[in-house]
């Protein structure tokens, strides 16, 4: 066998690829992150908002992109594709072809002068063709890496960019390169492609200018989009009053071969309608749909709000055709409702396009030797959702099935855990840990400030009189040195800063240039190299917030720049070196719950060599999986259960505690201490992280004669019968949404539609003559599960829709069961006499969740499931660091989804367990115990539970948990709390100096 390699190739720089890369790099692996375009970010970087929280997509994504771009162990390889693969799991050799962007990545500072001067305008793909960019361009303003690219197909070779580029970064002559990478494993995260709406010619996309794709509309909604966030019609720039959204364009469509459901379109259409209404409350939004697939956590609540609060109109009908009224460019939607055919006029039509596999899926599969499924998505199995058909190659995100961001992110962390399991011995072999010289003690010295003012080519220097600013700065107190630079961020400038610090014995450094959000880490590293503590550095933003926004007022911009630099210097004078203490990590995991999720998470951690305590309150492992006897398109779940339990018991790293409950949890990330009650005996364990995998329950219904008539059973009970072979019935009725999507439990239980169809198909298999009726609200067989829905319909399973106003009536008459159901198409109630009535009941949270949540200090949703730190980007984390979440404890989900999340939780946990020590942030709160009166206000305000009271009743900050937001500091009535690096004195000095005052004036 070849020697294993501690490096990983991640293919695709969308949110999933970025998450995998970050998790792996944080756990000690070298990562090559490859993207076929010029920057990472993927589709999420194009979105305006995300459902169901309406978070600004860029706000939440950008910090991750910057993190990946700056991580010492992540190397970005853009404009690249894979050409060849050799080797085996643990040791692959990958040949990558890298196109030139014709701009030197090291030299380009991203200043953008080239694009401003470039004479060629080109259609902008990022804005979906609705805007223009230049032939030399950045994919989007916040792009990572911040390097311009020349579009050679459009470039006319005029050489203007080369002339204006002060950094000398343009390399028009450079050509394709071949890069050979040696890696232990590969993660595929190439995402998806949008369905091309031109293929549905009946909707007139491409012919009628007011028919848009959903992603185009997303750009229009965005404040940095083509119309600056104002919703306008492309045909005439008028404000539309009536918008139609058409669902399932390119999904659930046998004619074009996309039989599957794209899983996300219902939700994103609702989101787009809601956001559009927020832009313009007068707007009328109509969504034409077949089934409203709001199946995820809290999705139905969002759907209800769209209908109730935002007045979005939902029409259950397929639009057959769109026609244009030439005079007005308005559009006529043709559809049928219960009264007959309708022609309705709209100003704008948005097509909710589905997800296709990525364009190059077939090439990728051929080169890597992996299998695709019948729709050209990556083929995976129910019990191994993150594994491709080739060992050592893993997959996450939409490439394995259409899915939303939260599921992609959970899978991304899961794929990272899989990789780590494969090459765990090689952890840390290829990563670099930068060594710094010891810090110089400066606390006793008077401030000696050095100021570097950047011209940023002509970006700053072309507007602001930089020499004048430098001259001015020299007159300010404590400034002992000031100079200007062409690009303060360039490599040679770093050297100069370093030498200047030494030469002038500087102990504070200020750079006046662009934004700290992108450049602070770079300069901090430089001052650290010069033996200064990183918190002795501060930045003034005189480009993004000055020269660029006052381009036509050079004099005022110069005055403002002086104010800003003076203010920053005023703060810098008060800067103090801050410690970044290290805390030790106990490399042991605690997994709470021994069902499928818990077992999976425990195994994934153990495979990486970590010790794991697996706690189960029942007398055996297995949880809900014990009741699942068959799964469509999967191996036998019971066999799988047996083999998993065997694997657990044979793994000496895993300690299983049955009949065991948690009694108490204390400590914090890296250092938890938990008391268990095992069979009445107390036991204490120490661990660095905890994973909550406590599962959920099948609800016992109280309606439809359940418990009264024994012919009324739940789906699980039916499955039990079918598995035991004692099923016998001529007519079966199934009722969906029993106890879900009602007033008491507004949300969907997600799994029941597919469960009902699974059992219906099983009935048709064992007893083809049996009639099966499924009474439903919406059939929510998202993704490839749609195939089973179609199969069931083809096999004669009858689907009848009902809604809350017309719920089925179940009675007992002369010993017979009678179900009366309103049939909306023929508008009559039809009676059915089943010999078996099967209820698809809700999945309800574990009643013990409350106690558990209190003990772990983590929150629950209104429904009583556990609440993650962030719906989209931290789906398996809790806000409390070191505690993670997976499986049914999170929300109802299928086996493959539970496994993905469990691996995801293990992947997130490994980023902590892989470190011997954790570095604590220096810019955090600290409390002066002499001033604290113990009122406890800060304890209750802290969103991270990072403040506690000690024995004396004084508040104390738990350094590791504090994130430095400063909310406590702003509320303390005794001003006993100091927020380091943002102290009251520092902020005041900065604010007042900006006004030309000092605090003592």
């Amino acid at each position: 066998m070849l020697k294993k390699i501690g490096a990983v190739l991640v293919v695709g720089g969308g949110v999933a690829g970025v998450q995998t890369s970050l998790d792996l790099a944080e756990s000690g692996f070298k990562v090559y992150l490859l993207d076929e375009t010029s920057s990472i970010g993927g589709v999420m970087a194009q979105l305006d908002k995300t459902f169901p929280t309406n978070d600004c997509s860029m706000c939440i994504l950008a910090p991750k992109l910057v993190g990946a771009g700056r991580h010492p162990n992540i190397q970005l390889i853009t404009n690249a594709e894979i050409k060849k693969l050799q080797g085996e799991a643990g040791n692959f050799e990958v040949t990558v072809a890298k196109k030139s962007g014709y701009v030197n990545e090291e030299k380009c500072t991203g200043c953008g002068i080239c694009a401003q001067k470039c004479p060629i305008e080109v259609i902008d793909e990022y804005n979906e063709g609705l805007g223009v960019r230049k032939a030399i361009y950045l994919k989007y303003p916040q792009a990572v890496p911040l390097v311009y690219t020349i579009d050679r197909e459009r470039c006319i070779g005029c050489g203007t960019c080369r002339e204006v580029c002060k950094a000398d970064a343009i390399e028009i002559g450079s050509e394709k390169e071949t890069v050979i990478l040696n890696v232990g494993s590969i993660v595929l995260a190439p995402g998806f492609d949008e369905f091309d709406p031109n293929l549905k010619s009946e909707y007139g996309y491409g012919r009628f200018s007011n028919v848009l794709s959903s992603i185009e509309f997303e750009r229009i909604l965005n404040a940095s989009g083509p119309y600056g966030g104002i919703i306008l019609r492309p045909s005439d720039g008028e404000i539309p009053r009536k918008i139609a959204f058409i669902q399932c364009v390119g999904s659930r469509d046998a004619k074009i071969g996309n039989n599957y459901c794209s899983s996300t379109c219902c939700m994103y259409a609702i989101k787009e309608a809601v956001i559009a209404k927020e832009h313009n409350p007068q707007l009328q939004c109509t969504i034409f749909f077949i089934d409203a697939r709001a199946y995820g956590k809290e999705f139905d609540a969002y759907y209800d709000r769209a209908e109730g609060e935002y007045d979005v109109r939902f029409v259950r009908s397929r639009v057959s055709r769109i026609e244009e009224r030439p005079s007005s460019s308005n559009l006529i939607a043709k559809y049928v409702n219960d009264k007959g055919p309708v022609n309705e006029e709209f100003d704008l039509v948005v097509l909710s396009v589905g997800m296709n596999p990525p364009k190059h899926a077939e090439d990728l599969a051929r080169v890597l030797g992996i299998e695709l499924n019948e729709y050209d998505f990556c083929s995976t199995q129910t019990f191994s959702p993150l594994e491709t058909s080739k060992p050592g190659i893993y997959v996450c995100g939409a490439f394995s099935s259409p899915k939303n961001i939260q599921e992609s992110v959970a899978q991304a962390s899961g794929a990272a855990a899989k990789v780590a399991g494969l090459i765990s011995q090689e952890k840390g072999t290829l990563t670099t840990v930068k060594e710094y010289p010891p810090e110089r003690e400066v606390s006793d010295e008077a401030p000696r400030i050095g100021v570097f003012v950047c011209r940023c080519g002509i970006n700053i220097g072309g507007v602001i009189n930089v020499p004048e600013v430098v001259e001015y700065v020299r007159t300010l107190p404590d400034v002992v040195y000031a100079e200007e630079n062409l690009y303060t961020c360039s490599q040679d400038a770093q050297k100069r800063i370093l030498e200047t610090i030494e030469e002038h014995n500087l102990n504070r450094v200020v750079v006046a240039s662009c934004t700290p959000r992108t450049h602070e880490p770079l300069f901090r590293e430089t001052v650290r190299d010069a033996r200064l503590n990183i918190y002795l550095f501060e930045m003034a933003n005189i480009r993004d917030q000055c020269s660029w926004v006052h381009m036509h007022e050079p004099q005022k911009a110069t005055e403002k720049a002086k104010d800003l630099v003076r203010a920053t210097i005023a703060k810098a004078r008060l800067l103090k070196p801050l410690p970044k203490p290290l805390i030790n990590v106990t490399p042991v995991g605690l997994v709470i719950g021994g069902g499928l999720s818990g077992m999976t998470a425990a195994l994934d951690l153990a495979k990486q060599g970590f010790e794991v305590h697996l706690v189960e309150r029942e007398k055996e492992l297995g949880g809900n999986l014990r009741h699942i006897h068959y799964i469509l398109g999967s191996e036998d779940p019971q066999q799988r259960l047996t083999s998993t339990i065997k694997e657990i018991s044979e793994n000496e790293k895993i300690h299983v505690y049955l009949n065991t409950e948690l009694v108490d949890v204390t400590g914090y990330v890296g250092n938890f201490r938990t008391t268990l009650n095992c069979n009445g005996e107390r036991k204490e364990i120490e661990h660095g992280i905890a994973i909550v995998a406590t599962g959920a329950h099948e609800n016992k219904p109280t309606e439809y004669l359940y418990g009264v008539d024994e012919r009324v059973v739940t789906q699980r009970e039916l499955e039990e019968k079918l598995a035991k072979g004692d099923f016998e019935a001529r007519t079966v009725v199934m009722i969906q949404c029993v106890g879900s999507r009602n007033d008491e439990r507004p949300n969907c239980s997600r799994i029941c539609c597919a469960q009902a169809i699974k059992n219906a198909l099983k009935i048709k298999e064992v007893s083809p003559k049996t009639d099966v009726y499924i009474l439903y609200k919406d059939i929510r067989t998202y993704g490839f599960k749609e195939d089973f829905y179609r199969e069931a319909a083809n096999k004669g399973v009858l689907f009848i829709r009902y809604d809350n106003e017309n719920k089925p009536k179940v009675t007992q008459e002369n010993g017979n069961l009678n179900v009366l159901v309103w049939e909306p198409v023929i508008e009559t109630s039809i009676p059915i006499e089943p010999d078996l009535l099967v209820l698809s009941v809700a999945t309800i949270p574990n009643p013990d969740n409350k106690r558990m949540a209190q003990m772990l200090k983590v929150p629950l949703t209104e429904d009583g499931f556990f609440l993650e730190a962030h719906v989209k980007l931290r789906p398996v984390d809790f806000a409390t660091e070191g505690i993670f979440l997976c499986g049914l404890a999170h929300s109802p989900m299928f086996v493959e989804e539970s496994i993905s999340q469990a691996c995801g939780a293990a992947g997130r946990a490994m980023t902590i367990l892989s470190k011997e020590t954790l570095e604590v942030e220096g810019a955090i709160a600290s409390i002066d115990e002499n001033l604290c009166v113990g009122c406890g206000l800060c304890v209750s305000l802290c969103p991270y539970r990072a403040i506690e009271k000690d024995e004396k009743g004084t508040a104390r900050v738990i350094d590791v948990l504090c994130k430095g937001c400063g909310t406590c500091g702003a509320s303390c009535p005794k001003r006993a709390i100091m927020i380091r690096y943002f102290t009251d004195e520092q902020i005041l000095a900065q604010g007042l100096a900006a006004l030309g005052r000092t605090p003592h004036d």
């Binding site: 860029m58 940095s224 934004t515 700290p516 933003n541 000055c546 702003a970």
Partner: protein
Amino acid sequence: MTKSAFKPKIVGFLCNWCSYAGADLAGVSRIQYPPTLRIVRVMCSGRVDPVFVLEAFRSGADGVLVAGCHPGDCHYLSGNYKAQRRILMLKKVLEQLGLEPERLRLEWVSASEGDRFATIVKDMTEEITKLGPSPLSVGGHFNVKK
């Protein structure tokens, strides 16, 4: 000072994660706005102590802008809600002190709202220009209404 020559001085406390990023985007997009604002970066709008605002006014600011993430978007979960409560209270205090509450603004600006940020600065500048210099910036004192 004549009203037309008056250029207000505004201090802005912007949260790092959304609003400061939105202000950066205004720059990246080259959206022009009047040079009246001086930005102080804080990590979260929840960090903004009422004292900062009062001191800024006392030191001659004609206006103070506090900007944070949209409700629900706060990087630290709920800091912006806390800011909202404080600012509401502060506006009352300002009135008591004889300052127009319009001189203090709380706004939600996301990282993709460069345009919105510029509009806010324009609006605020216009509004305060109409109000004229802060009574404190022309040498006045807080004048507590009884």
